[in-house]
Amino acid sequence: MSSTTTVAPGRSEWDGGVSPMGVSYGKLMMWFFLLSDAFTFSALLVTYGLVRSSHKAYEGAVDAFQFSQAYWPIPEKVFEAVPFLHGISAPLVFVGIMTFILIMSSVTMVLAVEAGHRMDRKAVEKWMLWTILGGLAFLGCQAWEWAHFIHGAEAGDAVAEGTTFFGANLAHNQYGPPDFAAFFFFITGFHGFHVFSGVCLNFLIYYNTVMGTYDQRGHYEMVEKVGLYWHFVDLVWVFVFTFFYLV
């Protein structure tokens, strides 16, 4: 592309007229936006790491684990419910399904980008629809996950001597220290909001594709730009999955 453009003698490629980064303005700005967005998510995850490691860790056997305000909970003991399987302990299964959904929607997005390179409008429409569907499925799963987290499990737990508390809010939760629920809400909430924005943008791209906007423009670069954003959302989930659910 423009990086191969010859530069006049005595002038650097940074003197203007060519694109030293080899990408269009819009794509470059998307990259830098994503970098700044990565800083925001990193700030949340770094704070989570600080607060979690400053709390006591549970040290007994995993089978004997009980919720307590005295130590940070083991995530697999908190997230072990699956819709329609009431009362069955299936640790991390539901969040595994969510991870799979998001990875698959990332694949369909990259297939839409590939179709865009070939100016294949029908294929772009098809893959954008699958991507939107994946995003909506993820949001639905997250709504269930939040509802279950807020309402709580069968038995509540003592937040103070002689009291019992079910589920979670920003001040108290049955699973562990108050900060545990606060971080769950902020980190998965901020990510979920990104998924929601992504679905809106994907729909906009789908609409424009159907209307023939990109055929008239002569290229499908908008699919690539929004694709970058959508992959980023998937990328953040990979880190949230590790640091919040696995470790």
């Binding site: 030293p20 970098l35 770094v46 640790p91 990332s106």
Partner: protein, 109 residues
């Protein structure tokens, strides 16, 4: 409206079979790495080694998503490093703050 005339000029290329196959391979790798993470989550005892393996596998997954899906591997080197170098400082920030947290837990602060 010249809409119909415009469409007549568009040449749709056939699917790039090789490229599509490569994308599905990357998807398969991401799925397998996630499956391995699940396996480790239930078979290994918690400890620094388990955490290290999880972080290592996460970086592998992140590398495939950013490198292949987001195409960063194939971009100009200046762009590649402009994105990567700031993130290396973030990793340092994470290490420093987790260390700080452990110090607080030990009551040394």
């Amino acid at each position: 409206m010249t809409h119909g005339e415009d469409e007549a000029h568009i040449t749709v290329l056939p699917p790039d079979k090789e490229k599509i196959k490569k994308l599905w391979t990357v998807a398969g790798i991401l799925g397998i790495v996630t499956a391995i993470e699940f396996l480790i989550a239930f078979t290994m005892h918690a400890g620094p080694l388990k955490t290290a393996i999880f972080i290592g596998l996460t970086i592998v997954k992140a590398g495939y998503i950013v490198g292949e899906f987001m195409h960063l591997r194939y971009e100009v080197k200046v762009l590649f490093w402009s994105i990567l170098i700031p993130m290396i400082f973030v990793v340092w920030m994470l290490v420093a703050f987790v260390y700080e947290g452990i110090t607080i837990a030990d009551g040394r602060l």
